[in-house]
Subunit: 235 residues, 6 copies
């Protein structure tokens, strides 16, 4: 018997909605929604690679994450106006980039660069995991556009899990996230292997049993997301 | 007999689509589309005013414009990453702010601030005019949310006009914009008065007759947009 | 019967003073004065063009505008100290550059760059129009120094006009500028065609008749300035 | 039979050296060495808290991490000269701050701020884990100096683990770190609970069994470090 | 028999020209010329002092130095555009500020701030010494405007000296400055005491005899400048 | 009979301690201590020179100075976090660079760059002079590592002198420095010639006799330091 605000079971995802080709210009683009969280993921392809990689025959994939000012409950300042990118933004951009690079064969990509942009249009918890999950689809579309589908060695999806009021739960919205004692983001391949595990005790430290429970929830959530990604790409 | 790429008459707007309340958090929000140009306008309300205005009993309205990296034909750099805002961005942000302030009664607004964010999700010419036109609706909704509808003294809308291959045309998409000899952005009130007139000779300078033709086109375009704004607000 | 603070007729320019070759180093330089407004315009020539233009056979002209801290009534902060350029500065720099490029034949200029610097030493309204007007002369001198006078396809001058207490007036000093209901800056070629028209309603929006009256004033003012530019260049 | 470059067992720490009070000015300071990795940790105490926390009766602990240019194999640029802090630096600073705050009772600290600085004088892998481990001791000394030892609710230590050539190993030096397929940093309390778990697949994704092996190694390493921290504080 | 390019004796100043009140707005302003070096010095007065000095009853004097882009032989980049102030600019701003503060009685100034701006309009060597010398006069005028002439406890002037081709020389223009083996800037009070001595070996190090010769030249130069300052202030 | 806080004679250095090769990575490194002032000097060598020097056959030496936040009595902000380098830091970095370049034969160095980093770990007055003195030794070690000892044409050392309570004193610690009426930093070669003389009146201006007394003290101090540098390099 769930006590979650939106009536979900503890191991249930929010409604996930994936809209491919939301934009006309980039090689791949997806509007992904995890409940009220809404992230626009674009994959722009360009010939050539950064200077330090030239002549290597290898491609490159990189990512930038950002949040629109009005995406949050109370408006947040624009980082371009502040003139500097915050630590959180840096951290998430790096996480997305690493996650996608885990399923890229640079050699098969050739000396091309795919630049991923994940812009949060509306935030309600789980923006980074929605970003990774949507970005993978945009990336897959960009690889298809470039004619290098073999550069993708697998798929990746990501989900947040946390312990709220002592109960491990999947896919936390903002109201649960702020109350969570422990918060974990997990990125997994479609084959069920781990790419990133980032767990943080917000209040009291967590023990091994709690960690195991969270990992199990995340495995289920990522498997569900993998299925939805596949359906979106097949449609 | 039109020779426009999309078959429009020279004095015809692109299909305009206005979606109110596209976001959950801000006091007002609109997704506005001028053809393939798509701008998300949000109006966030907060109590209090900037320091230099405190104790005056007057409110404040300000605006920021930005473009997502993947909004354009070829990806553009993120201004937050470059660490500085470009001149074009500054210029348009200031234009939007001035345009909206032209229909605000600061006293009726009271010591409240409305912050407008116009984020271009997709660009195909006319982003600044779509931004002004959409921002007005978000502003009207925010005033209603605040219970100060009397703070709005009128409406504003904006449209681009230009001379392409010697012919004055309304509402230029990107392909026409880059070929225009003269490019003009006009902001008008719902009553048909001018708020901003910004004309620029891209190639050869223009004469008075051309200027008059452009102004006439803009008057028609803004009148059409005013009607659509009203319909959107009435719905 | 004028009611202007300095006794001028409504369609009369302030005393204009043009001193060529005020500096020893740049290819062209002018100290231009519109009444108490004093702008130092320098045109520095260098071989080569920006990277994106290399090998095109075409030249480039660009401009930067700035204001000394003590130029204004109350000292303003130095933009280099603040570490960022304000929107107004950006906007005016871009206006000056566009205005001058309107009379440049890039091919005749060859792969050379002319960099215009307009530094306001003292501000009393109309700094951007004085800058354009003076910069044209510095540019002409720089073209002569480079031996490419044929790169200039015409001349440009600029003037401000505005409606003050309901009366259209030419060349507003600061005291009139702050009270103007409408403020317009107009850049014209020596042949009387328009390069830029930038009109802004500061208070109430303006109607078409007012716009026409302002344009007529500006045409007269620019014609006067064109004559003075020619005299200065002939001397 | 170990094959590690320095002859260590796979579950063995490098020689750890802790020098308390290495500096004269701050309330607490430690030079900590994990093999050739050398981090100077300082805890500066000051009265008062950041603005957003004033009047709450609660204290604050924050951290900054940085690396001297000559700390690395080949000199790295100084972030102050580049004018911006890199993503990695931001990420680690935030990790250290969160880790220390996990064992702080803000109420017992009172409205005081402890600012932790972790400066890497020499880097040979594991700088962030050495930083957390040393910073805890500096923090403990600062609490003692302030007379608020009860503000510390426990201890924290951190260690890196990774899979190198298929073998899980503890406390990776640089040469192992660059070759690791999976890299994990774990922060634990003295009581053996988890504060942070950050695992990243550098090459292929890792499975649950590998994750479990790494966690077990980390638990041993953190327990060893906790003992050394206690000895240092008792001396 | 002088071998100086401009026929001066080795201990002779360039023609010095001082124009008071060159600007209308600031409390004091001077255009000072050392030969072709031309520096505009403005002293802006404002009530109040920086936060760290509030309530002390003491005033404050600070200075900023900058160079217009076209002031130099080949155009230099604008620091506001680069987004950061160079080391040389910082260094000279600090020198000017310290020099002026040496003759200020903060108590007599009261809680007022005088902000000095020294902008180099044209550079031909010795810009910092011209700046100090001119700034003193602007400062004196500002003190008079404020009605606190007693806040000035003396006068300051500055001059450059150097060893060129083995010969000690006074007031080096650019062509001598670049060839100087040793370059020294000296700031002195009107009473002949030293405020700043900054000597630098550009090529070979200098010995005590050379240092003494340079100091003697500087003493003469500063005495001459002191006289000219006094004349300017008396006129 | 000395009245100095630490019992030193007025012309006596603090205890000087020089530890070579304190770091493993750079070509040369020294931890130098002047009493409680502790500066880590590293000399990193790399092939190639800055762009403006390429193909000249000449090498380059440059320096950066910085202070750890906890080095000072009360913690100072980190310049990388503030996003800009302060004037003092710029000034000292430039001083160190010039001082070292005074004893470098660029031709003998070949097209190599030596980058000096001087990081103040603890500050108690005289950090810039300790930095110059230590940096010379790191530079000498780097030249030896590169096999270009002939690139060093001499040695440099630096010391601070000042007038405290009317008495000229050598090598001021912080408590004396803040009370000094005059403060001077002197850089000399091992042969007793001057490289830099930077004297500043903090309170009242100083006369020629005081200047001479300070120079004499500095000559003695630099000679002592030269001897210690030689001993360190011989060991």
């Amino acid at each position: 018997m769930s006590t979650r605000v939106d009536g979900r079971a503890d191991d249930e995802l929010r409604p996930i909605k994936i809209t491919r080709n939301w934009l006309d210009h980039p090689a791949g683009s997806v509007l992904i929604e995890f409940g009220r969280t809404r992230v626009l993921c674009a994959a722009s392809a360009s010939e050539g690679v950064p200077r330090w990689r030239k002549g290597s025959g290898l491609g490159w994939v990189t990512a930038e994450y950002a949040m629109l000012p009005a995406a949050t409950n109370t408006r947040s300042d624009r980082e371009s106006v502040r003139g500097r990118i915050g630590g959180r933004t840096h951290e998430i951009s790096r996480l997305i980039g690493r996650s996608l690079r885990a399923v890229i064969d640079y050699k098969a990509l050739g000396e091309n660069t795919i630049q991923i942009d994940c812009d949060v249009l509306q935030a309600d918890g789980g923006t980074r995991t929605a970003a990774v999950t949507g970005a993978y689809i945009a990336l897959a579309d960009a690889c298809a556009t470039l004619g290098v589908t073999q550069a993708l060695t697998g798929s990746v999806a990501a989900i947040s899990v946390g312990i709220v009021d002592g109960v491990p739960r999947l896919d936390l919205p903002y109201v649960e996230d702020v109350r969570a004692e422990t918060d974990m983001n997990v990125v997994m391949t479609g084959e069920g292997r781990f790419v990133e595990v980032q767990g943080t005790a917000e209040g009291v430290a967590f023990d091994r049993a709690e960690l195991d429970a969270l990992l199990a929830l995340a495995e289920k959530g990522c498997a569900d997301l993998t299925r939805m990604q596949q359906e979106a790409l097949d449609s």
